[in-house]
């Protein structure tokens, strides 16, 4: 039943989610970190301040959040795998630079450990209120990848995958998890996961061929432009302005539409690489719970509790949150009479689920008081959605606020 890998057998370590993130970054080949202290993500920076020098990497503590992501973008332009880590207030400050990285197609990884919000919120309490911000936080139209691990081990493997996707697809990748998973300490075995991650590790596509004909944003079939470091001999111009294939600013409507259109469609032909989810006991499920992070951990137990009382529950857990694995969600919920979305916010994941499922019934548990949702609460609500007398169908459709 417990399909999230939490306790493999050999050479186990007892570490926190944030430490797993730091170790995953190093295993993925990250050699540059710039950050700024913020609860509850500071342990990532603290761990890397020791870990990166040991592998001849660079750790820099910057003067603020904006500087941190800007330094990461600069380092990545120089060719190194680079990362920063923050929490909600810092993630808000980074948004302009995040848009820059997305628009200029600079690979980088941004960890956002979600705490209570809005604003300073509750620094030491969990929340999942940055789901929509991770997708839409910067202005204008741009594509983004966000990954949502739910265990210490998965933070490790998804950190590695974040770098792989970032490098392969030339995009910023947001690693999104909540305070509980971040500071939760679990026994994990990282050896296998690390080896698997390294085997899959992909390098950035670098410019090759004649210098005269190099155009920084020209693409072939895969839609990913080949990159060149400044000073490598190719003419490179990186800008936040809309640009044409030559990398230089333009307001030519055709050129803007062509390059931005290519950027916005960039992920579609790579969905097999990007999409990742866990469908747990969904085959025969009459109620499917859709959840991420600590709420999904509670939902795993809730599925078992439901089934023990005769309610056939399942869990659909998007590991890649953005772009949302919508085909998989449709498939996992195809036979269900009800869908339940427990999440630590006032309604974000449930909006996306409702959008994908159209007029299908979607219920939700929304909580934003700093307390996680318990398995019993989820099981109770999931069971209530199913008329166990067998007489009727699921209750009325539409997202409903619990409290």
């Amino acid at each position: 039943m417990n399909a999230i890998e939490t306790a493999p057998a050999a050479s186990m370590q007892l570490i926190s989610g944030n430490h797993a993130c730091a170790l995953g970054a190093i295993a993925a080949g990250c050699r540059f970190f710039a950050g700024y202290p913020i609860t509850p993500s500071s342990e990532i920076a603290e761990r890397l301040s020791r870990g990166l020098p040991e592998v001849d990497g660079v750790f820099v503590q910057m003067e603020d959040e904006i500087a941190s992501i800007a330094a990461v973008i600069g380092a990545s332009m120089g060719g190194v795998k680079a990362m920063t880590a923050t929490s909600g207030p810092g993630f808000s400050l980074k948004q302009e630079n995040l848009g820059y990285a997305a628009g200029a197609e600079i690979p980088c990884v941004i960890v956002n450990v979600m705490r209570g919000g809005p604003s300073t919120g509750m620094p030491t309490r969990p929340a999942q209120g940055d789901i929509m911000q991770a997708r839409w936080g910067s202005h204008g139209d741009y594509p983004i990848i966000a990954l949502a691990p739910a265990s210490v081990r998965e933070i490790y493997t998804e950190t590695i995958r974040a770098f792989d996707l970032s490098e392969t697809l030339r995009t910023p990748v947001v690693l999104l998890y909540d305070q509980v998973i971040a500071q939760l300490t679990e026994t994990v075995e990282l050896g296998d996961a690390g080896a698997r991650g390294r085997a899959a590790a992909a390098e950035r596509k670098w410019a090759s061929g004649p210098r005269e004909s190099y155009r920084p944003y020209a693409v072939d079939e895969d839609g990913i432009p080949a990159m060149s470091r400044p000073g490598a001999g190719y003419r490179v111009h990186t800008t936040g302005l809309n640009h044409a294939e030559d990398g230089f600013p333009t307001q030519n409507p055709e050129a803007v539409a062509r390059n931005l259109g290519r950027l916005l469609a960039k992920f579609e032909r790579h969905r097999d690489l990007i999409d990742s989810w866990q469908a747990l006991a969904c085959e025969d499920a009459e109620v499917v719970i859709v959840s991420i992070g600590i709420s999904a951990r509670a939902a795993i137990r809730a599925v078992a509790m439901c089934r023990a009382r005769g309610v056939r529950a399942g869990l659909f857990r998007p590991v890649t949150l953005w772009p949302f694995p919508q085909a998989a969600l449709r498939e996992a919920t195809a036979g269900a009479r009800a869908v339940l979305v427990p999440e630590l916010n006032a309604g974000q994941l449930s909006l996306e689920v409702q959008r994908i499922l159209g007029d299908r019934p979607v219920d939700a548990i929304h909580r934003y008081n700093g307390e996680p949702i318990t398995p019993a609460e989820i099981a109770e609500r999931a069971s209530s959605l199913i008329d166990t007398t067998g007489a009727g169908s699921a209750k009325a459709p539409g997202v409903r606020r619990a409290r």
């Binding site: 202290p37 609860t39 301040s49 207030p89």
Partner: protein, 445 residues
């Protein structure tokens, strides 16, 4: 009863030169004979002890005097001796445990210290700083009865110096104030209040780490526009001042916003787990400047934020320390006054028992050592008078006295200590140069 001024004695600084006794004899008996001094320094097992009147609060000598020749002055606290009433019975000498009543053989009667009307000759004569005239009592007399605007129930660490700074600052600032305190230890310890019963008894708001001075600009500008005169005060840590908060601080200072910005400098992000900041000194351990095989603490020097503020042409800039309370109060007064017509910046050093790794009962001692070793320089600046050192930088204590008291420096190598010594020497030279230079602005006509 108020507190009184007094003479303090540091035996470790005394070498038994007798200059104090000769000065006293000259001042009080027109004699060069040390035996006629009201102050007696006595050698005892290689150290020195002081025999002189302590101006007791409940004086035995006064009780014992049958002729009412001795009395304690309620204003100055000095025990006065009236020669015209004295019957030379010497009973006063019997009651005194401190050897404070001297018998002047040549004069034929008792003699005692009267603190030279607040300007003691012995203290002025002491060449080694063993004797000091402490006037801190005036602070107690002036502010002791003022309302404490910082109520009990705060969750600061044991021995927190920041709490002390805010408590005293708020007494002087008074209730007509709006305070802003960005994320950090200051709101974290409960300055902003937890339940309506704790916190600060003036309006306190909690801006963002990036923008304290900007939000206060809005408060002050609008209150001024509607004719309401409130003191607008920032209480910010060094991160919220020197790093992420610097842009808004610099902007407000450049515009000459009328506010008082107090930076409580504990040399790092202590509230989030002791990460380094732009104010963390060279060599210091923090959780992001680790000490191990590859790391030996921070590899850069701290930025000198108060000097940066001088170059903003602020109405007033000063550095202060709770180890020197009189100086802190003087500067608070001037800073508050300056904030009525311009930007005032006060940089207060705040040793952190938790983050710097030292016992929680040693905060004031550490604060004093920081100044006495010149690790921290105390000075003040205004555009008319220029920069002025308020604590002499001559004859500092050896640096080791300070750094070896702190766990965060325990790993320092000789080379690192030499680097810090070099930085201090450079800083002293530079600040002295500024102090000797011309003021930024011509004196007002």
């Amino acid at each position: 009863m108020g507190a009184f001024e007094t003479i303090s004695f540091r035996p470790e600084n005394c070498n038994g030169c007798n200059d104090c006794m000769i000065a006293c004899a000259q001042a009080k008996a027109q004699s060069d004979d040390a035996a006629r001094s009201r102050i007696q320094v006595l050698s005892s097992d290689g150290s020195y002890e002081l025999a002189m009147c302590r101006q007791c609060g409940d004086p035995e000598c006064v009780h014992n005097c049958p002729a009412a020749a001795l009395s304690k002055d309620a204003e100055s606290g000095v025990i006065d001796w009236d020669a015209s009433k004295c019957v030379d019975c010497l009973l006063c000498t019997v009651g005194c445990s401190y050897g404070g009543m001297v018998y002047d053989v040549d004069a034929g009667h008792v003699a005692k210290c009267d603190l030279c009307d607040g300007d003691p000759a012995c203290v002025k004569a002491c060449p080694r700083g063993a004797l000091k005239f402490l006037t801190t009592a005036r602070i107690y007399n002036e502010v002791g009865n003022l309302e404490d605007l910082f109520v009990p129930g705060l969750a600061g660490c044991q021995g927190c110096n920041t709490e002390l700074i805010i408590r005293h600052a708020m007494r002087r600032i008074g209730p007509e104030a709006v305070v802003a305190t960005p994320p950090g230890c200051i709101p974290g310890m409960g300055t902003v209040g937890y339940n309506g019963l704790t916190g600060t008894k003036v309006p306190v708001f909690h801006p963002l780490l990036t923008n304290t001075a900007s939000m206060l600009t809005g408060v002050r500008r609008y209150y001024k526009r509607i004719g309401r005169n409130v003191k607008v005060v920032a209480l910010a840590g060094d991160g919220g001042t020197a790093d992420v908060g610097f842009q808004s601080l610099s902007g407000a200072a450049e515009r000459g916003e009328e506010m008082l910005f107090i930076c409580v400098d504990n040399e790092g992000y202590m509230n989030t787990g002791m990460q380094r900041s732009g104010c963390t000194p060279y060599g210091a351990w923090t959780s992001t400047t680790p000490v191990g095989e590859r790391g030996r603490g921070k590899t850069q020097d701290a930025k000198n934020l108060p000097l940066l503020m001088v170059m903003h042409h602020c109405a007033y800039v000063a550095t202060a320390s709770t180890g020197f309370m009189e100086d802190l109060y003087d500067k608070l007064d001037r800073a508050i006054e300056a904030s009525e017509h311009g930007f005032a910046y006060l940089h207060v050093y705040s040793p952190c028992t938790t983050g710097w790794r030292f016992p929680s009962d040693q905060n004031i001692e550490v604060s004093r050592k920081a100044v006495r070793t010149n690790f921290v320089l105390l000075w003040e600046f205004d555009p008319q008078s220029g920069l002025r050192l308020t604590h002499a930088a001559e004859d500092p204590l050896p640096l080791a006295e300070y750094v070896m008291a702190l766990g965060k420096y325990r790993h320092l190598s000789e080379e690192q200590i030499a680097h810090i010594e070099g930085t201090i020497a450079q800083n002293v030279k530079f600040v002295k140069g500024l102090a000797a230079g011309v003021p930024l602005a011509a004196a007002p006509a």
